[in-house]
């Protein structure tokens, strides 16, 4: 781009944009710390701070269960993605075998499959298997996804063949080369994959809402949406303000983990997003 020194106007516009992007997050978190009645009577004030909304929310909403379920799904699905996707990517990047192009074509085709087309038949499949309301239903579909394989193939293709041949000369087995030569080299790519997978699984909503309806298996996002429905359901209730307070407290608690990860690892987040654009 053109390299003139940016003027004050450019900084002013950028700062204004940054405020627009950050204000809703700030408003939600700061309001959740106010007495519930103040959220309604004076949405701009930041006066007395209180944890009352959080206390009420933890008492009323099974948010701990939601976190535990999301964590379980995240760990198992994350482990599968982080192991199987680089492994497949390695095969597609560094081996020649009959049918390779056709098989990789299938991987690319599945990238274009909208989630929605699978929801109904997948739900029927789960009920035929007796898997509705199980962790299996939340974990297995999509656990080894085409995009991650494609991306890992691009990453691994950049490794020089000599490095892999050297591993072979040292007598390592095919899997040994993957584990001891390939994986360590692609560590930055793996970090970005981990971050992106975390974001996707953590925020996943459509499938968990369909596949699970008992409270004990609901993921965090489903727990949150149930709370929202309770609110729109009794808008005229006497404790209107209290419900809003709980809602904002629950939202803030749900936002926190990813925002912290994001601030710490923002470089990997952005790399993940950019890798996503490569497929275009």
């Amino acid at each position: 781009m053109n390299q003139n020194r940016p003027g004050p106007l450019q900084y002013a516009v950028l700062a204004l944009l940054a405020i627009v992007f950050l204000y809703p997050i700030w408003w939600a978190v700061s309001s959740s710390l106010k007495p519930a009645a103040d959220i309604i009577t004076d949405p701009l004030s930041i006066g007395a701070l209180t944890l009352d909304n959080y206390r009420a929310m933890f008492a009323d909403v099974p948010i701990g269960t939601g976190f535990a379920n999301t964590a379980l799904v995240l760990v198992v699905r994350g482990a599968m993605t982080m192991f199987f996707c680089p492994l497949a990517g390695y095969a597609f990047a560094k081996y020649d075998f009959p049918g390779k192009n056709a098989l990789f074509g299938v991987v690319l085709l599945t990238l274009m499959l909208p989630t929605l087309v699978l929801i109904i038949p997948l739900l029927l499949e789960m009920s035929a298997l007796g898997w509705v309301n199980t962790y299996r239903a939340l974990i297995l579909p999509g656990s080894i996804d085409a995009f991650s394989i494609f991306w890992m193939r691009q990453t691994i293709a950049a490794i020089p063949d000599e490095l892999i041949d050297a591993g072979r000369v040292d007598g390592a087995g095919e899997f040994g080369i993957f584990a001891r030569v390939v994986l360590p080299v692609i560590r930055p790519g793996l970090a970005a994959l981990a971050v992106l997978t975390t974001m996707n699984v953590y925020n996943d909503f459509v499938w968990p809402v369909v596949a699970v309806n008992d409270t004990s298996h609901q993921t965090l996002q489903v727990v949150l949406s149930t709370l929202a429905q309770n609110i729109t359901g009794n808008r005229i209730g006497a404790d209107f303000a209290t419900v809003w307070g709980e809602l904002l407290a629950a939202g803030s608690v749900a936002m926190l983990p990813l925002l912290v990860i994001f601030v710490l690892l923002q470089r990997h987040f952005i790399n993940g997003i950019l890798a996503g654009s490569v497929k275009g």
Partner: protein, 287 residues
Amino acid sequence: MRSFRLSPYLFIAPFFVVFAAFGLYPLSYALQLSFMRWRGAGEAHWVGAGNYLYLLTSPDFWASLGNSAVMWLLIVPVQVVAGLGGAVLLANARLRLRALFRVAFIAPFVTPLVAMAQVWIVVFDQDHGLVNHLLGLAGLPGVEWLTSTAWAKPTLALLFLWKTTGFAIIILLAGLQAVPGGVYEAAALDGASRWRQFWSITVPLVRRSTAFLVVVQTLAVFQMFAEPFVVTEGGPYGSTTTAGLYLYKHITASDLGTGAANSFLLVLLVFGLSLVSVRLLRAKDGT
């Protein structure tokens, strides 16, 4: 060296097992189901193209597509312009605090959609919400953001834009940074104005990133689900029943054959729109 030939197949097998079980099988099953009348229990009846004909003559189906089309118009052009503007502002290598601005713009993308949808309910509430409060301070009347058919769609579109425009900025910024700086210097030497440089160099060179953005967001807008599901439940008067939410309603109504047919119609539409978008963006290449 027997293991040498087998290894790559073993390495890619897990994906194909998972895809066959949870992709290919449900897909072929959905195709059959789309030609049947089945309410989730009891006998299934073969109805041929019946479900498709029903949908294609149903006002609700067309209304859901219309709602999504309006959402698309409210979101995608705005996002391309805002994304490009943000990317141009950030692209200057001499910009200070660049990393900080990038983090600020991407932060909404990282927040859970359901949590922010709840914040939207509170912020845009017509009686006690922040936005109407601010309008009141400015002496303006409040707006029925989520309860009027005129405003519900723009209010949801705003949520979508707020959440994903940072993503657009980063994608377009990557496209911009692939432009070698020397190109601009040469153009400036030839006497091209800043505006001319923007239209003749920047815009053509980010066309690929723009095409990617348009396709990805077209897919996302027509599958939009959580926003109307959480914030408006498809109302008021069905005005925010997007294509994605309408599809979901077949599940709650146990009308699974129609739902399957609906999802295939939606896929065809989304593919068609993506192809058209790519074509349109390519066609301009000649300029």
